[in-house]
Chain length 367, copies 2
């Protein structure tokens, strides 16, 4: 007996994202496709416009917003969209399968570039894995060991040249789910072209003072190749395959914010957020493990690796308004801080859209 | 262009529940269908057996378990199953639709009892809403106002007599999602027969002492008709349609644990859990709004409404072991406390199954 219609209803629980083109950092007007029409309010615009870059002064000038009207969460929904682009294009990808496990997704256009490498990639005509194209991508059966697969795929990636830019010589593990058997390792920059899941650790550093909570925010160096000059929470980093989440976090705490192990070992894992972002041939499937670190009042973070320009301590209510009213934050940091806002009681069930926003923080393949 | 195969992969992210029959409170052996075969460990049994009832002494005798082996989370997965029974039978239900919105699900066997009431319920032959049976359930178009619908459905429920036992004369709102337009109100006991979503507020009361966290647990009165003598967290209650979550929680805090408003108003909303439980004609779709209340060290809860026999303060690590190793807790309390364990860092990403368990806390229609 088939239950397809119920599966469909489950999938409908995910937000129905629309096509979205990322924009330069600016203060946004509010209008969310997540609110039903009768809930929508007039879109608002603000007098501050930061253009392509902004200063801490701009950050602290972000206006207050009404916290309890029906459109209060629309700015948060906008930031979820920013991380989950073009989801309707998932049907342009075919499953990438190893040993009967779906470990990623390959765009049919990108597949055309892989097809000449017949000793590495093969494309069986078989919709066992539900491909819209009646085929899937897999590795040649001669490549039976992780080592063989890693080398063979690395050679193809190298051969593709500028089709996959930004090679970092950093290997990411490839598995069907976190903690599962690793089939091979893949260059980090190539992972989204094969729809491989990537994992990271993200930490909010906070303190309590006079009954109010504050978050330490970083402003990224203008020299960073990704998201230069934008806001970050205190510590974040991708998770390579040779280190645990907890140990990676302690390492990143030291490098990014000068937090010694004596403090960082008290950081608490508090859950995870996830998203799926499609851009051209790339399907970025990210899971971010979230951590909270309660910092002592006297602690001042200092960057050790040149990736952060400066830090500021900001009241959590102000941080919430920055997320809602601007695009100052590096896109995925919005999700991690919104998760913090939920867990610390700053977003309340009385506000329309509470459950939908909570659920959408794990829009991706959280596995 | 269809994206069905991707929808399928989304639905596969939900745990693949197997048929489960609830058992009397006892200490369980460990074996989880969620762990892949290579991850499974030998099932273990313990010498304590509580039978149909148990005392606080039994609770405190629950043995320690290894926290970090590969099967560490299997006891938690068992409790998720306890709340999400017979999910494969969702296909025996048809959508219940009002004004183009799916607001519930009706079992095809139960529908046979509704069909004689042709002025109230109609069953169009149309699979617009994806019904496996090529039909759906809706109300007669003459019933166009909430008041008319409430009265007409109440009369049918009354006519069905013992088919719907346990009438409480308590009305629940019927909407497609929380905070959305209310189509009518329905007797609480009848809600699962129409697959209507129900909402509740559940609160963990905790305190910190010498760097360790403790939870206040309640033991339900042996006179309760549901889950007599079982463990509860500190405060919980269903959400009627005429009160907000926050106000309902304050009311329940007073009635269930004697917590005055001066303390309970500091309780923080921290998210939600959800589940779907099928039993016969009933599809119970629950969403529980979770709250944390940090209590002062000197506070002792006392029950005001006779529903709780007694309270004890229990170290959180012990509570985690009670969940993992016993079925002492009222079923849905396991989910709310497991959510607490995640948010407070007691379950770590290094343990196999972390993301799957986290995701499964919202197995239901969290909307």
């Amino acid at each position: 007996m088939s239950c397809n219609y119920l599966y469909r209803s489950v999938s409908h629980r995910l937000p129905n994202f629309i096509c979205y083109t990322p924009i330069a950092p600016t203060i946004l007007s509010h209008k969310s496709p997540f609110c039903s029409s009768r809930r929508r309010r007039q879109s608002r615009s603000f007098s501050i416009s930061a253009g392509n870059s902004f200063t801490w002064d701009d950050v602290f000038r972000v206006p207050e917003s009404p916290q309890n009207d029906d459109s209060a969460l629309s700015g948060f929904f906008d930031k979820i969209k920013l991380c989950n682009r073009d989801l309707e294009k998932q049907c342009e990808f075919m499953p990438f399968v190893i040993e009967d496990q779906i470990i990623g997704y390959v765009h049919h256009g990108f597949a055309d570039f892989l097809k000449p490498f017949q000793n590495v990639f093969i494309f069986p005509q078989d919709n066992t894995y539900g491909s819209h194209f009646g085929c899937y991508c897999t590795l040649h059966p001669n490549l039976s060991t992780p080592n063989d697969r890693t080398k063979a795929v690395a050679n193809v990636v190298k051969s593709l040249g500028e089709l996959i830019p930004g090679i970092r010589n950093e290997l990411f593990p490839v598995a069907s789910a976190f903690g599962e058997h690793i089939f091979f390792a893949l260059e980090r920059a190539a992972a989204p072209y094969f729809g491989i899941k990537a994992y990271g650790v993200h930490m909010n550093g906070y303190l309590e003072k006079d009954g109010q909570e504050f978050l330490w925010l970083g402003k990224r160096s203008e020299q960073k190749t990704t998201y230069p000059g934008m806001l970050d929470h205190l510590v974040a980093g991708g998770l390579p395959h040779d280190i645990s989440c907890g140990e990676n976090l302690i390492k990143e705490c030291e490098e990014e914010a000068g937090i010694p192990r004596s403090i960082s070992h008290t950081a608490k894992p508090v859950g995870a957020v996830s998203y799926v972002d499609i851009e051209g041939y790339r399907m970025k499937r990210d899971v971010l493990f979230c951590y909270d670190l309660k910092l002592p009042g006297g602690f001042i973070p200092h960057n050790e690796d040149g990736e952060v320009e400066s830090f500021r301590l900001v009241p959590v209510t102000k941080v919430a308004n920055i997320i809602r009213n601007t695009s100052f934050f590096k896109a995925n940091c919005n999700l991690v801080i919104t998760d913090f806002l939920f867990r610390h009681g700053h977003i309340k069930p009385e506000v329309f859209g509470y459950l939908k926003l909570l659920q959408s923080l794990r829009s991706g393949y959280c596995s």
